[in-house]
């Protein structure tokens, strides 16, 4: 893996090749290993060494982009030439704000852990082995994945900006199953030592046992207690919907509602890179310092996030949420300047989950949601299913497991019906890193279909 100085020289070498009016170069490097287990054995076990250089060349307001993972001098010549040629062949983008100027980034916490970076296949095998052993002891089938990675991102522009950041990340997911029950646990952290693999294994396996022989339940509106993993889904959809482009164009739940007391006052949703435990990434993929953002503040609709182009177009400040213009690790994804929140936290309240259950006469307890998709963007109507442990609550106690249900529910409305917010936060692996979520008690949630398992 290249070090900071080698990467800086590489990026400056690319910029020096460019005859464009402005040039931006992004380096993405990744060493990731993942140990996957199923049926109580390791069945897929993989490692990847990957990196890419993405260059954007601007001729006035015409921008061409190209990427490669060939770092030879000839390939770099071709890379810059290709981006320049693509810029030459297109009309101007009047919204192009220019590439980022030099910026001082705050020297915050580091998120590089040597133990995570150097974790071996044996280390991961021993860790998942503890889960497998416990599952076998309990006559339960365990599946999941345990990954460790180190990555580094660097950006340079022809205006003199250079920023580099190394990062480590460990992720764990476990699904434990019996003939009729299933349980789930997951975690993510930048230090692998923060993930108590055996503890999560026990939680998943024990839930698989207590969720056995689920009973039928009719679809309908019920009060619910959502475990932290289920709340992740609400957080991810609502957080992602605060995209400044969608807000401006009128297709977001947030459009035209900023400043309104739309949600329960118990709800505060932030995107904050400085929040404890989150990955302290000081800049985004455009070189903008990452700013903390209140998306919902005590129930009041707060701020959207903006990349450089949409900030300039709307007169807002860029918030440091820009994504790579070309994502070499996701071939087939659209090329262009997107934005995304990577540090979502739904603030904790003060109600223990046991107290939530105790306060419900008749309702449902949901471990997590599965295969959720947006049905309508404005009210953020989402459909999906419960999975890995759904239970009937009666007279303030978990009464018995129930078969999984389909829900079709407006998440805007769900966050208006908040009865209580959990007292602690859990890290739930997500698309980019993880979110931090408390449990939620909602007065009503709409279940629209049932399953036979």
């Amino acid at each position: 893996m290249l070090n900071e100085h080698e990467i800086k020289a590489l990026l400056q070498g690319v910029i020096s090749r460019s005859s464009g009016d402005e040039t931006e170069v992004l380096f993405l490097g990744l060493d990731e290993a993942l140990t996957r287990f199923a049926n109580n054995e390791i069945h897929q076990n993989v490692a990847e060494t990957n990196f890419s250089l993405a260059v954007s060349v601007a001729l006035g307001k015409r921008i061409g982009m190209a990427s490669t993972n060939d770092l030879s001098a000839a390939a770099l010549d071709q890379l810059v030439e290709r981006a320049t040629q693509l810029a030459r062949l297109q009309p101007e983008n009047p919204d192009f704000p220019g590439f980022a100027p030099p910026t001082e980034f705050p020297k915050g916490r580091q998120a590089f852990d040597e133990a995570t970076a150097s974790a071996t296949p044996e280390f991961r095998a021993h860790a998942v082995g503890e889960v497998i052993r416990y599952a076998l002891d309990q006559d339960v089938v365990a599946s999941g994945a345990f990954s460790t990675s180190r990555s580094q991102w660097a950006i340079a522009t022809s205006h003199g900006l250079f920023a580099w950041h190394p990062l480590t990340l460990a992720k764990l997911t476990i699904v434990a199953m019996t003939e009729t029950g299933s349980g789930y646990a997951a975690d993510a952290a930048w230090e692998v030592a923060q993930i108590p693999v055996a503890k999560w294994g026990k939680i998943a396996v024990d839930k698989a046992i207590v969720s056995q022989n689920p009973r039928d339940i009719a679809p309908g509106d019920y009060p619910v207690v959502l475990e932290e993993a289920a709340v992740h889904d609400l957080v991810a959809f609502m957080g992602g919907g605060a995209n400044g482009m969608s807000v401006t164009e009128g297709s977001s739940w947030m459009s035209g509602r900023q400043g309104q007391a739309l949600f329960s006052p118990a709800i505060t949703l932030v995107d904050d890179p400085d929040a404890p435990e989150h990955l302290p990434i000081p800049f985004d993929f455009e070189g903008t310092p990452r700013q903390p953002l209140s998306i919902i503040r005590e129930g009041v609709v707060g701020d959207a996030f903006y990349n450089r182009q949409w900030a300039a177009k709307t007169g807002n400040a860029a918030t440091g949420h820009g994504m790579p213009p070309i994502n070499p690790f996701a071939p087939g994804s659209a090329m262009g300047r997107m934005m995304f929140p990577m540090h979502l936290t739904l603030q904790a309240g003060n109600t223990p989950i046991e107290q939530m259950i105790a306060s419900i006469e008749r309702g449902l307890y949901v471990t997590r949601f599965n295969y959720t998709r947006q049905v309508h963007p404005r009210e953020m109507v989402v459909t999906g299913l419960t999975r890995d442990g759904t239970f009937w609550i009666e007279n303030g106690e978990i009464a018995y497991p129930v078969k999984n249900l389909r829900f079709t529910q407006s998440y805007v409305e769900a966050l208006q019906n908040v009865a209580a917010v959990g007292a602690s936060l859990h890290r739930e692996p997500g698309y980019a890193g993880f979110t931090r979520n408390p449990a939620l008690q909602l007065a009503q949630f709409r279940f629209t279909g049932k399953t036979e398992f």
Binding site: L34, N39, E41, I42, H43, Q44, N45, V46, A47, T49, N50, I63, G64, M65, S67, N69, D70, A83, A87, L89, Q90, P91, E122, A125, H126, G129, I132, S143, G144, S147, T173, V175, M177, S251, P325, I326, A330, P331, G332, A334, M335, G336, N370, T372, R373, V375, H376, P377, R378, E379, V381, T383, L385, R406, Q409, S410, R446, T448, G449, T451
Partner: protein, 488 residues
């Protein structure tokens, strides 16, 4: 690059691998994106790398790298061996691959017009013109268009003696218009918002006629703003071939993946209701339902010469006359299935469905082209034959449970059918059901004239995640007694 493959195989055998294969791949992708009349992204991505897969003591290891040098190939192969040894620490059953697959072959996607040879200016002009025509419709607030072309050149070699070279082309495109007014948001896209994509050249984009369809897309998006809400009822449903393509993908393609059936995707994608004891006895659908996994369908995104463990492309029946008869399989799962059914694993053959999303991913079981075979109806006759129902077109949302039974789909467009004629337009249409009941209620499928292959370029599965490109052939079909209108 071929030399590097030999280095990997030699190194793997020296280090004790019982089996090894290596794939080296170079990929080029070009993308043009237009939004609201502005060229937002024009880019080209190139990447190359290799992945080595080994079996040591019956356990798998895989490692990959973007660095194409002999030294790196030796390092990565040794890493794959070390990983396989770690896998063996928690291995309950040795992997058995069945009879050897030994092939020397070259395959190339048939292409009439190389999409990379079409000037970028022409691609931009096409999208800008489509964009302009959509925005000409008053009420359209957001427009978008995209074109994508891909070329992948892959070498595969195995310790069994295979040496396969394949060159794949794909071309895709889409346009989309968003109409927004009074808190209502309606989208119309063509062919759909994720684009249709084929294993073809530029000739596919010519046939798509994005410009010719742009005025209709804009007009329909605006019309949807004032359309009635889709009623909530149980009725007869006619699905267009594109929505039906996704229905096939989710409710037939995924549950016939044998890795899901055997539980090895349980923690992520889920398992399947099509368990082995159902094979050849379970009634999946009505007698007119015939579904096939066909890796030879011309133009399909699941079309290739050989899969990513070197097994030849095949046409595998999944559902015959409504009965469940086959799986998507790999070499390993084919032997497991044979064992389970009391057959000789040494004679079992993979159905050729192992595909990796790139050089940095291990092959896993993926769909090829999952096709619903055409029936006999003309679409207009089918509508005329339907007294009361709803016609749905173009997917908008999709969700299905982890056994692939309970689904809910939303579509962009819906028309009432009354007295055998198309009636009023509905917005926010959804339908829901259970897979076998739904396919069991299929009583008419349109004929070959209405049949077409549909490309899904965004199928997610696996850990680490892999995005596969799959194909789905279908013609419009009718389903009875379906619940529609599940949305507040």
């Amino acid at each position: 690059m071929k030399d590097l493959l030999a280095v990997a195989l030699n190194q793997a055998q020296l280090l004790g691998a019982d089996y090894a294969d290596v794939r080296a791949l170079t990929a080029r992708e070009q993308s043009v994106n237009v939004r609201n009349g502005i060229v937002e992204g024009v880019g080209e991505m190139e990447n190359a790398g290799f992945g080595v897969r080994v079996l040591v003591s019956g356990a798998w290891g895989f490692a990959s790298s973007a660095i194409l040098s002999s030294q790196e190939v030796e390092r990565v192969t040794a890493e794959a061996i070390a990983i396989a040894k770690a896998s063996a620490m928690y291995q309950r059953q040795r992997v058995y691959l069945g009879p050897p697959e030994v092939h020397q072959a070259i395959y190339r996607t048939p292409v009439e017009i190389d999409p990379f040879k079409i000037p970028i200016e022409d691609k931009i002009a096409l999208l800008l013109e489509a964009d302009r025509l959509m925005r000409a419709e008053a009420g359209i607030k957001v427009t978008q268009g995209s074109l994508v072309c891909l070329r992948k050149h892959q070498y595969f070699a195995s310790s069994e003696g295979s040496a396969i070279e394949q060159e794949f082309f794909e071309t895709g495109g889409a346009i989309m218009a968003l109409a927004i007014a009074n808190g209502e948001i309606q989208r119309r896209s063509y062919p759909n918002v994720f684009r249709d994509q084929h294993a073809e050249g530029w000739e596919f984009i010519q046939r798509l006629d994005l410009v010719g369809n742009a005025p209709r897309v804009g007009a329909e998006a605006v019309a949807l703003l004032s359309a009635e809400q889709c009623p909530s009822t149980v009725t007869t449903l006619i699905l267009d071939r594109t929505q039906l393509g996704l229905q096939i993908h989710e409710s037939c393609g995924h549950p016939t993946e044998l890795d899901r059936v055997f539980g090895t995707e349980a923690a992520y994608a889920g398992t399947s209701f099509l368990t082995p004891e159902k094979l050849k006895v379970f009634r999946y659908g009505s007698e007119i339902v015939n579904l096939t996994a066909d890796a030879t369908t011309p133009g399909g995104l699941g079309t290739f010469g050989y899969d990513d463990e070197g097994v030849p492309a095949q046409r595998v029946p999944l559902v015959r006359d409504g009965r469940f008869v086959g799986y998507l399989s790999s070499r390993e799962t084919a032997t497991q299935l044979a064992q389970l059914r009391g057959e000789d694993p040494a004679l079992s053959r993979s159905g050729g469905a192992m595909r990796a999303s790139g050089w940095n991913r291990i092959p896993i079981i993926r769909m090829t082209n999952i096709n619903l075979e055409p029936g006999t109806w003309e679409l207009e006759d089918l509508i005329a034959d339907t007294d009361e129902g709803i016609y749905l077109e173009t997917n908008k949302s999709w969700s299905i449970d982890n056994l692939r039974l309970n689904f809910l789909f939303g579509t962009e467009l819906a028309y009432e059918i009354k007295g055998g004629k198309r009636g009023k337009l509905y917005k926010n249409a959804t339908y829901t059901g259970m897979t076998p009941e739904f396919w069991g209620a299929c009583d008419a499928i349109c004929n070959a004239k209405a049949w077409g292959i549909w490309g899904v370029p965004n199928c997610g599965k696996g850990q680490p995640s892999q995005t596969a490109h799959t194909g789905h052939g279908a013609a419009p079909a009718r389903f009875r007694n379906v619940r529609i209108g599940v949305m507040k």
